[in-house]
């Protein structure tokens, strides 16, 4: 074993002039990484004893640094070519001590663990900046001093490409990689169809899965804002929700879009369907599903259009889905009542509970699909949608004025005769509504009007 590594290192570092990191050595010789680090150190010492400066080393120092005030230039990266400060994992709220290598001068002495890669010539200087060193070892060996420390990244790339065939779950014991004991290999192998599918499906059939993808993606997005998880997880989640709620039509997507742009619209305090501007501002990366589909209603609408006609057009655009504007509004309102502030769990559960009424409303709305109007004896009556303003006090104390469509039944006279001439109709037919009586004379009035001509 001793011979192997000297030979290997001699060939690679000296003859071929390559950079050898401890990881490459461990993979090549199939040894534990700690052993590899020792091998590197040994080789380095011996070679430099034989011929000084034939082999250069890069070291990795871990520990707590003395408060940095000088050596940080632009924050995290110092590109002065000397030391490359490697970032430890980014801070996850509520997690453990390992934080990012500090920007200088924390006021409260937060213990900051730093991981630093240094070249051998800077080793003393770097160790001086450490208050307490948890570990120090040789990271790599190279024939000459590295001008560009990023060349070290190539070592890892080579490892990945050369040793990709090894199963990490088996190999970790040998190499000493850190392994989570609870991890297990996924058997399914089928990645859930991402919500990118929706743009292709503008038809009613496709719009349904799209909607489901869009909606849960939105919910996830809200959750993810709180926990700072990347949006890619949001894309992954549509899969479990994808099969559920197939009833939700594509029209739920506009509320999803509105949700995303609701932050802007709160300031306009209008019903979301009115002021639709597509600005993917708040969410980190609006899922591509929403953006192209939401462009569709965009094109059809302008801010000042009459509500009903436009909404109807939009509904048709949605391929005649059963979802009504009222329901969309209701859902939107439900979602808008939750915040744009960083969400917490209560808000999240609030949304979940509120979307429950959503499907119910949809069901009942399906019955009253269209505005109905009947003309009976000159009297219009029926149900129609009317925009009504509603001012609501939000959870946070904000007054939110929303317009929402409300069904109301109406009956009114035909326009021509203003005087509701309660004609001397025999009061016999009382069962027929009083309107009927009025209707007859009205009709008669009109006809007489035309009759004159």
């Amino acid at each position: 074993m001793a011979q192997d590594y000297s030979e290997y290192l001699a060939i690679n570092v000296l003859n071929e002039q390559q950079v050898v990191s401890y990881r490459t050595l461990s993979r090549a010789l199939k040894v534990h990484v700690n052993l590899a680090k020792q091998m590197l150190y040994d080789f380095h010492r011996k070679q430099n004893a034989k011929k000084p400066s034939s082999v250069h080393a890069t070291y990795l120092i871990t520990g707590t640094r003395v408060a940095q005030s000088t050596s940080k230039t632009n924050g995290i990266y110092s590109q002065d070519g000397e030391d490359t400060v490697m970032r430890s994992s980014p801070p996850i709220p509520g997690s453990s001590p390992t934080k990012q290598t500090g920007d200088s001068g924390e006021d409260e002495d937060i213990p900051t663990r730093s991981v630093l890669l240094v070249r051998q010539e800077h080793l003393e200087k770097a160790t001086a900046t450490f208050e307490h060193i948890a570990g120090k070892h040789v990271y790599s060996l190279q024939p000459g001093s590295l001008s560009d420390i990023q060349v070290l990244s190539d070592c890892n790339r080579r490892i990945v490409s050369t040793y990709a065939a090894e199963d990490p779950l088996v190999a970790w014991k040998q190499y000493g990689t850190i392994q989570d004991p609870n991890v297990k290999r996924r058997t399914q192998g089928q990645r859930p169809p991402p919500p990118v599918a929706p743009p292709a499906a503008k038809s009613a059939v496709g719009s349904k899965p799209a909607a489901t993808a869009g909606k849960p993606a939105t919910l996830e997005r809200q959750a993810s804002r709180a926990s700072d998880v990347s949006i890619s997880s949001a894309k992954a989640t549509p899969e479990p929700n994808g099969t559920a709620n197939a009833k939700k039509s594509a029209a739920s997507k506009p509320p999803a879009t509105k949700r995303q742009s609701s932050d802007i619209f709160k300031s306009f305090a209008k019903g979301g369907s009115k002021a639709k501007k597509e600005t993917p501002d708040t969410s980190a990366a609006p899922s591509p599903a929403l953006v192209p589909v939401a462009d569709e209603p965009m094109g059809g609408m302008s801010d000042d259009d009459a509500d009903d006609t436009v909404e109807d057009a939009e509904v048709e655009v949605r391929a005649g889905s059963g979802k009504l504007r009222k329901d969309r509004q209701a859902e939107l309102e439900a979602m808008m009542d939750a915040e744009d502030e960083p969400m917490d769990d209560t808000a999240e559960s609030g949304i979940d509970s509120r979307t429950e009424p959503g499907p119910k409303q949809q069901v009942e709305a399906a019955e009253e699909l269209a505005e109905t109007m009947t003309v009976e004896n000159g009297r219009r009556r029926g149900r129609r949608r009317v925009m009504k303003k509603k001012t609501v006090k939000d959870e946070e104390g904000y007054l939110v004025t929303k317009e929402e469509a409300v069904w109301e039944s109406f009956s009114e006279d035909e326009p021509a005769p203003k005087k509701a001439k309660m004609a001397p109709v025999p009061a016999v037919a009382k069962s027929g509504a009083a309107a009927k009586k009025a209707g007859n004379p009205g009709q008669g009035n009109i006809m007489s009007f035309f009759g004159k001509k």
Binding site: S145, D148, Q150
Partner: protein, 224 residues
């Protein structure tokens, strides 16, 4: 790659040449290191100069090389480092004489391997990138073997023409014919006595065949 023409081959080479020139500038500290930014090419970290004039100059030079390569006149391309006194210090040579000889009309014709039995790829991208990476890595490592360059060096790009090729004289003239004493443009015989030649790598990926080495001028005793 099914769609390799001679032009794409040359383009791949000139891309590599651009990166190599930037790397040489970095390694030899021709420009201050702060003027470089890190980039990645062929999945490898490289340094690229930020100054617009430098980039422009390099791009123009490489374009001129490319036009000569397309005409098939070039024997080798060299990046020469001069000292402050305009004496050549070292030269990074890329010998491209082994590129296929393609007449001007056929620049955009698809190339096909002549070996009918084994249809080889003309330009196997993965291998080629691997070899480019290795070459760049060796270039960066060359710093140790060459020793530090003195202050105030400058550089240029030179091409050596094939013996039967016409000199590129056109208007506007991108190339300046160098004097014989400066050992360019006139064949290998008029070369400065070189003290040391360090081979870098011989690239062979499909039809992309060239060799790279470093020559150091004789008068300079560069330590290894």
């Amino acid at each position: 790659m099914a769609e390799t023409t001679f032009r794409t081959l040359i383009t791949a080479f000139t891309d590599f040449l651009t990166v190599a020139i930037h790397t040489i500038l970095w390694e030899r500290s021709i420009y201050p290191k702060t003027s470089f930014l890190s980039a990645r090419k062929y999945n490898f970290p490289v340094k690229q100069n930020r100054h617009p004039k430098v980039c422009e100059w390099i791009n123009d030079a490489v374009t001129a090389v490319e036009s000569e390569l397309l005409k098939g006149r070039v024997h080798s391309v060299g990046v020469v480092i001069f000292t402050k006194d305009s004496k050549p210090l070292e030269r990074f040579v890329f010998d491209v004489s082994r590129f296929p000889d393609v007449p001007v009309d056929d620049l955009d014709t698809l190339l096909q391997s002549g070996d009918a039995d084994e249809p080889q790829s003309i330009l196997p991208v993965v291998e080629m990138e691997e070899q480019f990476r290795a070459t760049l890595s060796k270039l960066t490592a060359s710093r140790t073997s060459l020793g530090p360059a003195p202050e105030g060096c400058t550089f240029t790009v030179a091409i050596e023409l094939k013996p039967d090729a016409l000199a590129p004289v056109s208007h506007p003239q991108p190339w300046i014919p160098a004097q014989v004493a400066d050992d360019e443009n006139d064949g290998a015989t008029a070369r400065h006595p070189t003290a040391k030649t360090t081979p870098l790598r011989a690239i062979k990926a499909g039809e992309m065949k060239f060799e790279a080495w470093i020559e150091e001028a004789g008068s300079d005793a560069a330590d290894g």
